[in-house]
Symmetry: C2
Subunit: 140 residues, 2 copies
Amino acid sequence: MTDVAKQAVPAAWLDTVKWDVKGLVPAIAQEVGSNDVLMFAWMNREALTKTIELGRAVYFSRSRNKLWFKGEESGHVQYVREVRLDCDEDVVLLKVEQVSGMACHTGRHSCFFQRFEGSVDDGAWVSVEPVLTDPEHIYK
Amino acid sequence: MTDVAKQAVPAAWLDTVKWDVKGLVPAIAQEVGSNDVLMFAWMNREALTKTIELGRAVYFSRSRNKLWFKGEESGHVQYVREVRLDCDEDVVLLKVEQVSGMACHTGRHSCFFQRFEGSVDDGAWVSVEPVLTDPEHIYK
């Protein structure tokens, strides 16, 4: 089989994933060790393939409409130790080592730094995680 | 202010959330203590309000097009100890106590029980978590 023919064969594992109408699936990044949920993003077929190929998280940026190699600007790369798929086969979970310990563009460890406090009638989202590095020093 | 007038005032914390075109946001359920990611689902405004009001996870089922009180059939309720919102304000993270320790309808602890093994050219999703209870005994 030539290389060209080989590339033309669709990967069964990739077809197992139930891509949505836009060809995307949600992806959750969880830190190895702490098990903290770091961030949430989206992947298309190419992003998931690249993630496995390179061993680092590659997402699909819906706002920029292109592949997003996590850490390409900040240096805060995510090395992927495990890739999981859920029971419905439409959500991916990455277990990652987070370079710098900061996944969030705000300079925080995790993107989920706002906690709900109060009640339904009188509630608020409150920032409860520290900024580790000023974003101005991350993105130059 | 009468009760009726009070209800008519939109909750600012609910408006902070960036609902998608279908009025939904992704929601991740993470277990308190182990920090395991248990499942992923969707919420509308009513589901998030009910979740906070009742202190238990209420999702919006896209397939059934209605509120889904997690555990309503299985008894596997999720008691919500914390609700988080991400930096973009379009993803919710619930920190939950999982009744029975099983979040998945397959009778497993977590829905993310399939692990990718192999390479891009020769990969597969492999079940790596045990079934704790036969689903036939969960749904009667």
